[in-house]
C-alpha cells in the first residue's frame, strides 16, 4: 500500500456508485508538491477523517474536493460528475465550512444564517426553524447580538449551525472544532453521527480527536 492512501477500515461494500470518487489527486502550493497522489471513495453514510501535520495540505485537499483549488493532477467526481463542471443542484449538495467562519460582523447570527441560505438560493426560509438550529448550536440568547460581540467559540457555533439547516449530503469541514468547548465538541460528534445515519457523507480535518464517531476512515497525509 502506498503512503497517502486511505486505509479502508471496515468499509462496507456498497451496491451503488460511491458518492465521491477521488483519483490520483495531487496538489501543489508555491511550486512544491504537498502530498502524494491520493485515491479514495466515499459512500453514503461514511466519514473520512483527514489527518496530517501542519502544512501537509489538509486544507488544500479539502478545498480541492470542493472545487475551490485547482489540483495539480487527478480528478474528483461527485455522483459521477466532475466537481468543477457539475450543475447547481449537485453543487448545493455540498456544504463547505472552512477555517474562516464566513460571518458578517455587523449582522446577528440569525441574519447571518438567513443570508447564508439566501445566497444558496434556498427559498421560503422558516425563521422558527433557523432559531431552533441556533438554539441547538448553543446560541440561545445570542441570536440577536451582532456577531462582532460574540466570542470565537460562539462564532464557530454560528457557522456550524448551517449544518442543521442544510440539505447538503456532503459536508466538508475544515477544523470544525476550533475554539469549541467540550460540550460543543460532543454536540458536533452527535451531529456528524446523525448525518451519517441519515445517509450523508462527511470529510473532516481536526487536530483534536473527536470521540464517539462511528464508521470513521482515516486518510493520513503524513
Amino acid at each position: 500500500m502506498r503512503p497517502g492512501n486511505a486505509q479502508a477500515s471496515a468499509a462496507p461494500a456498497t451496491p451503488q456508485a460511491p458518492g465521491l470518487q477521488v483519483r490520483g489527486l495531487a496538489c501543489r502550493r508555491g511550486g512544491m508538491r504537498l502530498f502524494a497522489p491520493v485515491d479514495f471513495d466515499l459512500a453514503a453514510g461514511e466519514l473520512l477523517f483527514v489527518r496530517g501535520r501542519n502544512g501537509r495540505g489538509k486544507t488544500t485537499l479539502l478545498r480541492a474536493i470542493c472545487g475551490l483549488t485547482e489540483p495539480a493532477s487527478g480528478e474528483i467526481r461527485f455522483h459521477g460528475d466532475s466537481i468543477r463542471t457539475m450543475d447547481d443542484a449537485r453543487r448545493m449538495a455540498l456544504l463547505y465550512i472552512g477555517h474562516r467562519d464566513a460571518l458578517k460582523e455587523e449582522l446577528t447570527p440569525l441574519e447571518n444564517l438567513q443570508m447564508h441560505l439566501g445566497l444558496r438560493a434556498v427559498g421560503n426560509i422558516d425563521e422558527d426553524h433557523l432559531l431552533d438550529a441556533l438554539e441547538a448550536a448553543g446560541l440561545g440568547e445570542r441570536v440577536d447580538t451582532p456577531v462582532r460581540y460574540l466570542s470565537q467559540g460562539q462564532r464557530r457555533r454560528t457557522a456550524l449551525a448551517r449544518l442543521l439547516v442544510s440539505q447538503a449530503t456532503l459536508w466538508v469541514l475544515d477544523e470544525p472544532l476550533t475554539a469549541l468547548d467540550t460540550d460543543a465538541v460532543a454536540w458536533m460528534a452527535e451531529r456528524i453521527n446523525g448525518h451519517l445515519e441519515d445517509g450523508g457523507m462527511v470529510i473532516c480535518t481536526s487536530h483534536q480527536p473527536i470521540q464517539g464517531l462511528h464508521r470513521a476512515r482515516t486518510l493520513d497525509l503524513g
Binding site: 483549488t69 447547481d88 467562519d101 458578517k104 447564508h116 445566497l119 444558496r120 438560493a121
Partner: protein, 222 residues
C-alpha cells in the same frame, strides 16, 4: 440563482448602510479633493471654470479608486467569498452584483452631488446638466475597471497603491471622455459624441469586466 444574486445585492447594500461612516468618508473625500482645486490654483473664476470638469472628474476617479479597494477584501478575509464561489450563481454575476451594489451606494451619491461641486467651481447652464450625466455613464465604467484591479490585488501587500498603478492608466479614456463632454457643453458645443463614446465604453466594460473579475477572484481563492 436569481434569488441568490438578489440576496447578495440586498446584503451588500445593507452592509454599506450599516457601515455608513465608510460611505460618508468616501463622499467627504470627493468633496474635499474638489475643494482643493480652488485652494491650489487660486480663486480666479475663469481659471476655475476651465479646470472644473477635469477637477470634478479626477476627484470622482480617485474616490472610486479608494472605495473599490475594499470591494472584495472583506468577503475574502472572512471566508464569504469561498461560500459565494461555491454558491449557485456564476462568479462573474456575483462580481457584477457586488459592483452594482457598490455603485448604487457610492457612485450614485457622487453623481448626485456633482452639480453642487460644479456650480461651486463656476460651471453654468448646460455644463451643470452634462456633468452628472457624464458621471452617471462614466463612474460605472470606473467601478467595473476598478473592481478588476481590486480582485487582482486581493491579499497583496500594499494592495491599494499597486491597484492605483494597475488601474489608473485604464481610467484614462473615461476621464478624457467624461471631462471632455463637460468642456464641450461649456463651449456651447454638443457633448453628444463624448457621451455616446462613454456609453460605448460602458457597453464594452459591462460584459467583459465581470469575466476578468471572476478570473482574478478564482486566482485569489486558489
Amino acid at each position: 440563482m436569481g434569488r441568490s444574486l438578489w440576496t447578495l445585492l440586498k446584503r451588500d447594500i445593507t452592509l454599506l448602510v450599516l457601515r455608513r461612516q465608510d460611505v460618508m468618508t468616501i463622499i467627504a473625500f470627493f468633496l474635499i479633493v474638489t475643494t482643493l482645486l480652488p485652494l491650489s490654483v487660486g480663486p480666479e473664476p475663469e481659471t476655475l471654470r476651465a479646470l472644473a470638469p477635469g477637477g470634478v472628474w479626477i476627484a470622482a476617479a480617485l474616490a472610486s479608486l479608494i472605495s473599490l479597494d475594499r470591494l472584495f477584501a472583506d468577503d475574502w478575509r472572512d471566508g464569504t467569498l469561498e461560500q459565494l464561489a461555491l454558491g449557485p450563481a456564476p462568479l462573474a454575476l456575483v462580481a457584477l452584483t457586488k459592483i452594482t451594489a457598490h455603485w448604487l451606494a457610492l457612485g450614485l451619491p457622487l453623481v448626485l452631488l456633482s452639480p453642487l461641486m460644479g456650480y461651486a467651481l463656476g460651471l453654468q447652464g448646460m455644463a451643470l446638466l452634462i456633468l452628472p450625466l457624464s458621471l452617471a455613464l462614466g463612474t460605472p465604467v470606473l467601478s467595473l475597471l476598478g473592481a478588476t484591479g481590486a480582485a487582482l490585488t486581493l491579499g497583496v501587500r500594499a494592495g491599494g497603491a499597486l491597484m492605483a498603478l494597475l488601474i489608473l492608466p485604464l481610467y484614462v479614456p473615461v476621464l478624457i471622455l467624461g471631462s471632455g463632454a463637460v468642456s464641450e457643453a461649456m463651449h456651447a458645443a454638443g457633448a453628444g459624441p463624448h457621451l455616446s463614446l462613454l456609453g460605448a465604453l460602458l457597453a464594452l466594460a459591462l460584459p467583459l469586466a465581470p469575466l476578468a473579475v471572476a478570473g482574478a477572484l478564482r486566482i485569489a481563492l486558489d
